[in-house]
């Protein structure tokens, strides 16, 4: 791995040098730098000394400072790649030489016998069978013990030149937070409008309609002669209206904050929603203590919505829900054995999940190949 890294760096240093005329192209420089930085990061991660910073945002556009650093890195890369990559090339090359020279030294013309240990010609089998394996063993030792530190040194230099400064990391974080906060506010506003609309067009309108019917009924009650059937009809309509208003109000309340969540917490609410699903659901709950209310609400809606999809669209005969929390993340997996092919664009279920999840800076992935199965995975940060 490290040998390959060093050889790759050497080759890339040569390519970089050859590409000198292209250095001033910012996009190219940034792309090239980002590639190498993630290579270097991988080498450092593999050797047990993790990099200080993952390469999120390495391709960020229009960042002058980042471009300047990438261009500055190019000559550094040429030098370090050549200097540190050359030993790897020599090492590998001489192993190859020894492997060929040891069994085949006699096949070369007398004046042009292969040489081991740089400059010792091989005149006979004794020399070939002692020096050849010795060279291979020594160089393998070099590859085993010397090249990895060289590779790490190269990677460190690369990362050091290219890595974020602290204030850049902060700037990036602020940019992300600003964006997600705007999304949160948008989602919150949309949610408020939806609630207002539901109450205004639903419950409130029904109450007005009921009041009108009761008003007419009250008026008609004193008519002489009284039309009992008319009055009775109005009262019946008003009564039905009250029942509908109550049902609607319940729906609105549930969509604002599910009462079961308030009463039983997230684990109780998930137990209830899975028990109520038309398809049998296997529920696995990890530790769900002290999940913030907003996260719990999104988790609940995600599972409820996903299970609605399962029973309505998937044709599944069984489903599974797994929910658990690590230190700072709540993860949810909802899967089913249905026919797959779930699509964000059909219906609003999955889109709704994405909207709610992204509002909390979480991630939602839907894996649903045609023919199934479907897996919805949601990760929500919950350790602010």
């Amino acid at each position: 791995m490290t040998v390959r890294y060093l050889l790759g760096s050497l080759l890339s240093a040569v390519v970089t040098l050859a590409g000198l005329p292209l250095w001033p192209v910012p996009r190219l420089a940034r792309f090239w730098a980002a590639r190498h930085r993630s290579r270097a990061t991988r080498v450092l991660a593999g050797s047990g000394s993790p990099p200080r910073q993952a390469d999120a945002g390495a391709d960020g556009d229009g960042d002058g400072e980042r471009t300047a650093r990438a261009v500055l890195w190019l000559p550094v890369h040429v030098v370090t790649g050549l200097v540190l990559g050359l030993p790897a090339l020599l090492c590998v090359g001489n192993i190859v030489v020894a492997s060929i020279a040891t069994p085949l030294w006699w096949a070369f013309p007398l004046a042009d016998r292969p040489r081991l240990f740089v400059d010792i010609p091989v005149p006979d089998w004794t020399t070939a069978l002692t020096l050849g394996p010795l060279q291979i063993v020594l160089l393998l030792a070099v590859a085993r013990w010397v090249l990895p530190p060289l590779a790490r040194l190269h990677a460190r230099i690369c990362v050091a030149v290219l890595s974020y400064r602290t204030n850049e990391q902060l700037a990036d974080r602020v940019a992300v937070l600003t964006r997600t906060r705007a999304e949160v506010l948008d989602a919150h506003g949309a949610e408020l409008r939806r609630i207002e609309r539901d109450l205004h067009d639903g419950t409130q309108a029904r109450l007005v309609a009921i009041a009108m019917r009761l008003a007419v009924a009250r008026d008609a009650f004193t008519d002489v002669p009284r039309d009992d059937a008319f009055v009775e009809g109005l009262i019946r309509e008003a009564h039905e209206g009250v029942e509908e208003a109550m049902a609607e109000l319940r729906t609105v309340i549930r969509s604002v904050y599910p009462p079961i969540l308030a009463d039983r917490g997230l684990d109780g609410a998930l137990t209830a929603v899975t028990a109520g699903c038309a398809v049998p659901v296997k529920l696995e709950l990890g530790d769900l203590e002290r999940v913030p209310a907003a996260v719990a609400a999104v988790a609940y809606f995600t599972v409820a919505e996903a299970l609605t999809n399962v029973s309505k669209h998937s044709g599944a005969t069984g489903a599974g829900v797994r929910a658990g929390r690590t230190a700072d993340r709540l993860s949810l997996v909802i899967c089913d054995n249905g026919h797959g092919g779930a699509d964000d664009r059909q219906g609003t279920g999955l889109a709704g999940i994405r909207r709610r999840v992204s509002a909390l800076d979480g991630t939602a992935t839907v894996d649903s190949p045609a023919g199934g199965p479907t897996t919805v995975t949601v990760e929500l940060p919950c350790g602010w």
Binding site: H200, D201, V208, A209, M212, A215, D219, L234
Partner: protein, 214 residues
Amino acid sequence: MRVVIAEDNVLLSTGLELLLGRAGFQVAAVATDGDGFVAAVREHRPDVTIVDVRLPPTFRDEGIRAALRARRETPGLPVLVLSQYVEQQYAAELLATSGGGVGYLLKDRVSRVDGFVDALRRVAAGGTAMDPEVIAALVQRAGDPIAVLTAREREVLALMAQGLDNTAIGQRLGITDNAIHKHVGNIFAKLGLAVSDSGHRRVLAVLAYLNAAR
């Protein structure tokens, strides 16, 4: 008396038809959006119209805008706007159109049939009907300047602002026309307003005063 209604909620429009039918009105048309309303007014030439503030397609203030549009096409067209919430701005926009015959009421008022029908007739006759809540908010905001009025005078002021005439105010408060006349005179004198005749002009004067007194 013929009425055109703009209301997209079937529950409410059937309720209104029922209620108006019993009160002796004839519902000529029920439109479910602003354009439909304007067209229906053009076609039926109603004596009075009832418009819900929120209508498709925007479900914002389509109703207000349709009402203003219809009044531009048919100056003096009596319009009673119904809303599920009170918004001063809407009342002000309606009052700003020339001529009388405007009303702005909470939908809740509909269930007090007598009061609602009174208000509708008043609007139809070129008068004004402002919701008590609109007026209460104005009176409350007016604060200091109307502190010079007695409690009874403030009641009379509020009812005047709602668009009631002296007789109706007297009935509402259970006092004689004469007493009302005296109260009204005192109010105008104390507030330094020129005495206006009964009707829309008086309402405008009182509302303008309340609006200015902040």
